[in-house]
Subunit: 329 residues, 2 copies
């Protein structure tokens, strides 16, 4: 049975939504979930939500604040829930860690406590992006490595490919490089060199460059980019989708006819907002570290946490870490 | 009277929409417009559109194709309309060039024919982005310089500030740096160093970093970034806004009530699509070259061309080039 270390204190709606996610996951899957965090707060929340499950709790007192510096906090708050949770995986007492807390702290925990997979220079975050065709694509890196070399991007591509194939069951996943122009010779020094490097790897189903306009259009299963561009784009998608939907809602209030139209469309608009809200899609696996670590959006609700837990289970069942380890040799 | 050199052959809808733009501009402003391109095609189009104006035409035979390599084409197609148009400005026979053709060719023309302003290392494209509050912001660089150093970004900031102040009449324009995190110490090597550099310039109203989610939210008058990130983001905005609106339209057809709602909302949706379509906002001035060169979106219609011409006139009247030249000393 897969054993999940769940950071009960991380996220905007912790511990409430985290615990509701644990209950949701537990009610649909056979698995062990250990809750890491303040015992009193957790037990109170379990009581409020009338949990039928008895989750084991590992008590911790320290909490990483969003403005804590990730690598400092690893020294100063050794007992914060994310570090304790990650240590449970490093010690083999759990199989995967799931958190909606500070991404930086989770990244630092994974790199320094789990360690990197041998042969992988820099781990990357594979963030899911909903596509207009209803499927999911991954963007890697979503923000772990701001300054990348071509080899970092190649590793992101190979690890994302392994993830898509083994965890998402996609045959021969299509890997694209985010660039400013589709032609191989276009782009920055980084993307030009990376395009050449990726093209030279027959194991990789590299379909070439894609542009910013295509990030939601289902052209690729994994979109590879440096963590700076990836993070800017992911946040832009979130912001723009919400801004455009906001404009639609606002516009629907300008005249009587549009008001009526807006009312009739309201449920549909809600559905689209949901489709575009990547917090709905569980979490982002951190690829390249020696253990499964799923990074959830800070705004995650119970459903998102539950999907992230399912994703963690899938990573474990697919033996993702040993697949990447073999590949990286 | 301001004299505009208008590339009649550049753009997806040339020469039709270019000429319609020239007519539109000429009917609302006192100015001289010279059309550069194939004389026969231009005169035929003027006849079709029943132009009441007699535009002087400079006949050229060569046309830059979208897949031509910008710096090569400058040697191989010396007589292409964009090069001839730019030469008219360099020779003092026109005051500004406006084109909707290949951005790369226009950039090459400006850099090699007009030359850079003394003290400016790399010119940048200041692309307008519509904001949800109905105002405009500029993103600089929109794609001229893929690999930037901190000093390039500082120059973009200073030139954008001069443009906002003198051409857009914005007092004390707010300059922001696009980054992954708002804190000064966050980001890539480039953005960390640039944040420091910009903060040290008292003449610049530098308001700090903004994130991808905020690019449409009216927080800044100019958003500064490298040309790679800028181009990816601009194309993403265009793509995502159109994708989300497409989803709304599609969703409006799923049930009878939503169909009715969609019909009632249709005019409003059209308005939003227009608000988000940056081709509606005229063009992007190329900042840092020794002459006014306005880059229009390839899909520009007559209205967009006319706005770009007005923008060129405003740049000339505001003496933008001499303002930037003084600033760069």
């Amino acid at each position: 049975m897969i054993r999940i270390a769940l950071d009960a204190m991380g996220g905007d709606h912790a511990p409430k939504e985290i615990i509701s996610g644990a209950m949701l996951a537990r009610s649909s899957m056979e698995l062990d979930i250990t809750l890491i965090g303040d015992k009193t707060a957790i037990e109170e929340e379990l009581k409020i939500q009338k949990s039928p499950f008895m989750f084991p709790v590992v008590h911790t007192t320290e909490v990483v604040a969003m403005n804590d510096h990730p690598s400092e906090v690893l020294r100063t708050k050794k007992d914060a829930s994310i570090f304790v949770a990650t240590r449970l995986v490093a010690e083999g007492r759990c199989d995967a860690v799931v958190s909606a807390g500070s991404t930086g702290a989770q990244l630092a925990a994974a790199i320094f406590i789990l360690g990197r997979i041998k042969g992988i220079e820099r781990p990357g975050i594979a963030t899911p992006i909903p596509q207009v065709n209803g499927k999911l694509a991954m963007m890697c890196d979503g923000g772990a490595v701001s300054d990348c070399k071509p080899n970092n991007l190649l590793e992101f591509a190979q690890m994302s490919s392994a993830y898509c194939q083994n965890v998402m069951n996609i045959d021969n996943p299509r890997i694209a490089l985010l660039n400013i122009g589709e032609e191989p010779e276009k782009g920055s020094e980084l993307t030009q060199a990376t395009n050449k490097l990726m093209s030279s790897k027959p194991d990789l189903n590299f379909i070439g460059n894609i542009e910013g306009k295509d990030v939601l259009r289902g052209h690729a299963d994994a979109i590879i980019t440096d963590g700076f561009t990836g993070n800017v784009i992911l946040k832009a998608i979130e912001g723009i989708a919400s801004d455009v939907m906001g404009l639609v809602k606002k516009a629907a209030k300008t005249s009587l006819t549009s008001k009526m139209g807006g009312l009739l469309l309201l449920p549909t608009i809600g559905k689209i907002r949901k489709l575009m809200d990547y917090s709905e899609y569980g979490g982002a696996p951190l690829l390249g570290v020696n253990g499964v670590s799923i990074i959830c959006h800070g705004r995650s609700n119970g459903k998102a946490i539950s999907s992230a837990i399912r994703q963690a289970v899938n990573c474990c069942n697919a033996q993702l870490i040993s697949k990447i380890t073999t590949q990286a040799r």
